[in-house]
Structures are given as structure tokens and as C-alpha cells.
């Protein structure tokens, strides 16, 4: 929090010219969020939400603005393909929409899918609520900078009762440029009443350059809507990736999230969910697997605010080498959310003595007849299991990989897209040490 203006990161981000939209409400929101960021700077580890993720080193770095780069870096279209994912595709390279890499023809009926930059030129009114937000906490520093500078992103709407079966793919590519870049993406996603959507959100690298990316997503599920959301984060190993997703669920809506966090140098993901409608349900499953000197921080904040709401969260962390994992799962069952059911499990595996994982499940219950269970563990591979496998002839490295994959398996098990599930398992195994 101290001397924000003198931090190279803060001053370099503020050097970028504030985008102008011609809409007073948006320009005002951008300006005010920029001012808040300039005044507040970065949170330090005394801010509870950033306790285990120090931004000191990042704060000393400088990042250029996308407009400073003359040419769009080359990205190979075939590398974007994901097995089992064959719906429309929206691609952003360093935060800028790429029409030629995207697949937007023949959108299924009931699906609106366009880049934010276009949506703002068309009918911006439906975006007004999301884009005029003010972030009040210093812990929201990256949301502030995002609100000030993001000019592109995804606008996705599913009409009431429309069922979008083929998964929609959102791809965010970090590509090497002449300078270290900062880029910002803002997504607004809404499912109408009874709508269904399968969504795959993917982060990938083309080149190994340091970058800072911020992404803010709002996801709204209308009554009875269903969302299958898969996140595959495999960003460049040198990049800092700060994401925040806010999900709101109306009555009987059901969202399922499967997240695989593999890449990035400094990764922070905030998943905030508000179960505001009766009998709404959120299932989150995830694996974070930092190695080398990666730092991956996942923060769930789930708020049960209506009757008979259900959340289940099952997360596994695997840290190798000198990597660090952080997991915080905060669940609040608000007054009046009677008959709710909240469960959270976070199990972690340390594959090397220098690796570290900090986990903190938090459960606050203010309602009646609530079923709740939460637990977190940190351990090592079981020596007896390892010996059992080796005594049958399986080499040590393979035995370790087999046990680690087994440790993660339960998390992907209930992903209905089998082809994608196999692909994700394979990626996970490829990331395991010595295989």
C-alpha cells in the first residue's frame, strides 16, 4: 500500500493512455477506477486476501501497453484446437480480439457471441451495470486497473431456454512482443432462464515473454440455467496472470466449474460466487500444479444467500521443486439460507521438500439446518504405495507420476466431456515430473 506512485509496476501501468469510449458513464467509471488504483497501489501481505501472495517482486517490474506494439505477433491457428471442443471460438492475442483466428460463423440459434470492443460500438446498454462498477478495496487493485483499461473481452449471451451443446471456446493467448506487455480483458457472460451452455476458457502461450494479464469475468445464470465451465490455464511460464470471476446464480441454476491451473509464473484466481436464488447449485473442481518457481493462488469465495442452495468444492494442489501453491476456500451461509449444503475439500501434495502449499478453508454459518463439511490436508506421496509399485517393477519416476495422477483423478472424473477429459488428464500427466 505504501508509496504506490513510486512502484515501477504502478507507474508503468498508469503511463498508458486511458481509453475513451465516447460514453460518459463508461469514461467516468474508467477514470475513477484509474484514480483509485493510482491512490491505492498494490495490496501488501497485510491485506488478508493477499497474505500468501507477495507482490513485491512484481511491483518492481515495468510493463508496456498493447498500443506500443506495432505488429500483432504471429499465432498458429491449429495450436488453438482442443479435442472435444468444436463449437464457436473467440480468440484474443495479448488482449486484442483476433477475427482471423476466431470461428464465429454459423452461431447456433440463441447464442450471442462477440468481442466487447464490437458490443460497445453496437448496443452498450446491457453492459452498463457490469462496466460501471467501482472497486472499493485495495485488495481489488487489479480489478481497478482492469476496469480502467480493458477495452476488449467476451460478450456472451444465451437466450432463455436455448441449449448450446457444442462447447464455446474462449482463447486468451499471451504472445511474445517487443516489450513486456500488460493487457486487460473484460468478459460479460449471461445465461437466460433455462438456458444451457458448455464453455471452455483457455489460456496459452506463444513465446516465453514476461507479461502481466488481468481478466475480469461476470457470469450470470438465470433461473434454472445450466453452465458447464472448463478452465484450462496453461499460460507462458514467465507471465503473471490475475483473474477474477464473479458468478451469480438465480433459482435452480446450476454451474459446474472444472479448472486446471498449470502455467504462469504468478497466478491468482479469485472465484466469487453468489447463490442468490433458492435451490441454486455450484460445483467447483480444480487442480493447481505449480512447479519450478511458479506461484499459483486460488481463492474461492462462495456465498449462500437463498434457501436450499448447494455448493461443493473439490480442489487438489500438487507442488514440485520450489513452487508455491495457495488455496483459500471461504464459504459463507448467510442468514436465511436455511437448508443449504456446503462442502469443501482441498487436498495437497508436496513432491519436493522445497515446495510449499498454504491452504485455508473457512466456513461461516449464519443459517439453520445447514449441512456443511470442509477439510484440507497437505502431505507427501505415500512411501508404502511408492514401494509397492516399485517392488512390482515400475520405475520410481513412473510410480511417482502414477500416484500423483491418481491423487488428481477424482477432480476430473465427473467432467461429462470425455474427449476433453482425456486430453486434460494427458496434459496433467505431461506436466508431472520426470515423465
Amino acid at each position: 500500500m505504501s508509496q504506490p506512485a513510486t512502484l515501477p509496476l504502478v507507474s508503468s501501468l498508469l503511463d498508458a493512455p486511458l481509453p475513451s469510449s465516447g460514453m460518459t458513464w463508461l469514461d467516468t467509471a474508467r477514470r475513477e477506477n484509474r484514480e483509485a488504483f493510482a491512490a491505492g497501489g498494490l495490496p501488501d501481505t497485510r491485506v488478508e486476501a493477499w497474505k500468501y501472495t507477495a507482490l513485491r517482486a512484481l511491483g518492481q517490474r515495468r510493463f508496456g501497453h498493447v498500443d506500443d506494439v506495432a505488429q500483432r505477433p504471429a499465432v498458429d491457428a491449429p495450436t488453438l484446437a482442443l479435442p472435444g471442443v468444436d463449437g464457436p471460438r473467440l480468440v484474443f492475442v495479448n488482449g486484442v480480439f483476433c477475427a482471423d483466428l476466431s470461428v464465429l460463423d454459423r452461431l447456433p440459434e440463441g447464442l450471442t457471441l462477440q468481442p466487447l470492443s464490437q458490443a460497445l460500438r453496437g448496443d452498450p446498454e446491457p453492459l452498463r451495470f457490469a462496466l460501471s462498477r467501482h472497486y472499493r478495496e485495495v485488495g481489488d487493485a487489479f480489478a481497478r486497473i482492469n476496469a480502467a483499461y480493458a477495452t476488449d473481452g467476451v460478450v456472451l449471451r444465451v437466450a432463455a431456454h436455448a441449449k448450446i451443446v457444442a462447447p464455446v471456446q474462449l482463447v486468451f493467448v499471451g504472445a511474445a512482443a517487443e516489450t513486456d506487455l500488460a493487457w486487460h480483458v473484460r468478459n460479460v457472460i449471461a445465461l437466460g432462464e433455462g438456458a444451457e451452455l458448455s464453455l471452455v476458457e483457455q489460456y496459452m502461450a506463444a513465446g516465453e515473454q514476461a507479461q502481466l494479464a488481468t481478466l475480469v469475468s461476470d457470469i450470470e445464470l438465470g433461473e434454472g440455467a445450466r453452465l458447464q465451465h472448463v478452465v484450462l490455464q496453461n499460460a507462458a511460464i514467465g507471465s503473471s496472470l490475475i483473474r477474477r470471476s464473479s458468478v451469480r446464480l438465480q433459482a435452480r441454476a446450476h454451474a459446474t466449474v472444472h479448472a486446471l491451473e498449470l502455467g504462469g509464473a504468478l497466478v491468482r484466481h479469485d472465484l466469487q460466487a453468489d447463490l442468490v436464488g433458492d435451490a441454486s447449485r455450484l460445483d467447483t473442481r480444480g487442480i493447481f500444479m505449480p512447479h519450478g518457481r511458479q506461484h499459483i493462488d486460488t481463492q474461492l469465495a462462495i456465498r449462500h444467500q437463498a434457501l436450499h442452495t448447494v455448493s461443493s468444492s473439490n480442489w487438489r494442489g500438487v507442488a514440485n521443486d520450489r513452487a508455491r501453491g495457495v488455496f483459500r476456500g471461504a464459504i459463507v451461509v448467510a442468514p436465511g439460507a436455511d437448508g443449504s449444503d456446503a462442502s469443501l475439500s482441498n487436498k495437497n501434495l508436496l513432491l519436493s521438500p522445497a515446495a510449499e502449499i498454504d491452504t485455508k478453508p473457512e466456513l461461516e454459518i449464519h443459517a439453520d439446518e445447514v449441512k456443511a463439511a470442509h477439510g484440507a490436508t497437505v502431505g507427501q506421496l505415500d512411501e508404502r504405495s511408492l514401494f509397492y509399485l516399485r517392488s512390482r517393477g515400475i520405475p520410481q519416476a513412473d510410480a511417482r507420476a502414477l500416484l500423483t495422477a491418481a491423487f488428481c483423478r477424482a477432480v476430473l472424473d465427473d467432467l461429462p466431456n470425455e474427449v476433453l477429459r482425456d486430453h486434460l488428464s494427458a496434459m496433467l500427466i505431461a506436466q508431472l515430473p520426470n515423465t
Binding site: D382, E383, R384, S385, F387, Y388, L389, R390, S391, R392, G393, I394, P395, Q396, D398, A399, L402, L403, A405, A406, F407, R409, A410
Partner: protein
């Protein structure tokens, strides 16, 4: 095949094996009996290479090579197999997948061709008949949720598939019902051959009625204190371990 000489080994700083010597030739079946805590399982673990067991003196040669210099997986590929007294549950690892990975890893290390899934399935079908292990167990995670007897049968099933040269069975007969005991014995007898040897650790004569050993040894306080033929087991059954092993009373069970 196996020559253990004056073996001393310690666990967590505590000496467990205290000068154990034993020679096993191809084609032989040796039974090892002895009081609880004598070091029988320790011997099995030392022979199969478990970490944490420090050999402080003595030697083990296997087919003329230093067995102790090998990693556990290399010993397995060389034909050493340990049926665990307490088989380990490994959730998330499919039993069949595991066994195929094990067999192929051994074959690869020996320079043999790996089996594809069809060939492997055929082999499993043959062996499954002998062990009467249910198909359903094969599709479960390794030993996970298996009953005590099912775990032991699974060990012998693995042995049947891996076809080791030196099989160490650590109380594989404990906790088995009479039918399972017969099946385990049958599994062993089917593998008996002039090229193979068995070290059967057991507390009971019963198994030895079905698998007749060539030698019976008493392991007490970290040493072989008496050796004989199958009649020694009968004698033990009758009189227990008191008075066995020349002079010392074998109060090693503590």
C-alpha cells in the same frame, strides 16, 4: 540362486537382522517360521529393496550378483517378487492398468517386447481362472476396499502374471478361508518349477500341507536359529518356539 551371508540390517537405528544366513537354490521351496517381531517381514523388505532398511554388514547375492546394489524395480525385473504381508491400497490406480504397467516395465528392462492390451488381456484371462479372482476386482483400484482375503489372492494373482524366479510370500496364508488357502496353494504349486524358488513366511502348518516345503527354517531374533525338513514345522506346531535354536530363549516378540 540366492545366497544370504551374515546379514545385518537396521530400521530406524534399531538392529533387526543380526547375522542371518540362508541359501536358496532354484527349484526349492523354503518355509520360514518364527515368533512375531523376529524380523521375517524385515528380511522380505530388505530383499526387495525397501527404503529405510540399512544393511550394516553381510551380503546377498542373487544369481551371483549383488542384489542389494539394485533398485527395487531392477530387482523385480530380475525376478524377485514380494507378496506383502499387508498389501497396500492405492486409490485411483486401476488394478489391471497397474499390473500391465508393471509387467511391461519389467519386460522393457529385460529387453523383451512389451505386451499390447490384447496380449495382456489374454494372459490375464489365463491366470484369472487359476486364482478364481473376480473380474470385478480387476477393474477396481489396487487393493482398494478389498477384503483381507481378496488382497492376499490379488498378491498371488500378480505373482502368477509376473512369473518371478524368486517369490517371497509374507504370510500370504494369514486371514484366508480354507478355499482361498487352497487356491493360493494351487497358485504356488502351478508356478513351482526347477527354475523357480519360493520363500514362504508363515505361522501355520496348514499352508505347508498344501505346499510341501523342501526346507523349514526358524527365524528368531534376527537370525536363522534352526533349519530342518518339513517335520520341523510339525514339531513347532506341537511345542512352539521355546527350546528352539540351541541355547537362547527366543523372547524376540517384544
Amino acid at each position: 540362486m540366492l545366497k544370504i551371508e551374515n546379514l545385518h540390517a537396521r530400521v530406524e537405528g534399531k538392529e533387526i537382522l543380526k547375522g542371518l544366513s540362508l541359501t536358496v537354490n532354484a527349484g526349492e521351496v523354503h518355509a520360514i517360521m518364527g515368533p512375531n517381531g523376529a524380523g521375517k517381514s524385515t528380511l522380505g523388505h530388505v530383499l526387495s529393496g525397501r527404503e529405510g532398511y540399512e544393511v550394516t554388514a553381510g551380503s546377498v547375492s542373487y544369481h551371483g550378483n549383488d542384489l542389494l546394489a539394485l533398485e527395487p524395480e531392477a530387482r523385480a525385473a530380475a525376478g524377485v517378487f514380494l507378496a506383502f504381508q499387508y498389501p497396500v491400497e492405492i486409490p485411483g490406480v486401476n488394478n489391471t492398468y497397474f499390473l500391465r504397467a508393471a509387467l511391461n516395465a519389467q519386460r522393457k528392462r529385460r529387453g523383451e517386447k512389451e505386451l499390447d492390451s490384447m496380449q495382456f488381456l489374454k494372459l490375464v484371462r489365463e491366470k484369472i481362472k487359476v486364482m478364481q479372482i473376480s473380474d470385478e476386482l480387476l477393474h477396481r483400484a489396487v487393493n482398494t476396499g478389498f477384503s483381507g482375503g481378496e488382497k492376499k489372492r490379488n498378491e498371488i494373482f500378480q505373482m502368477a502374471v509376473l512369473e518371478p524366479q524368486l517369490a517371497i510370500l509374507d504370510e500370504t496364508d494369514s486371514g484366508l478361508d480354507i478355499d482361498a488357502l487352497k487356491q493360493v496353494a494351487q497358485g504356488v504349486n502351478l508356478l513351482r518349477s526347477p527354475q523357480r524358488a519360493f520363500l514362504m513366511i508363515t505361522h501355520y502348518q496348514r499352508l505347508l500341507d498344501y505346499v510341501v516345503p523342501d526346507f523349514v527354517h526358524v527365524l528368531a531374533d534376527g537370525r536363522i536359529v534352526e533349519s530342518g525338513d518339513k517335520s520341523l514345522a510339525l514339531k513347532l506346531e506341537e511345542h512352539g518356539y521355546s527350546g528352539i535354536g540351541a541355547s537362547q530363549p527366543t523372547g524376540a516378540a517384544a
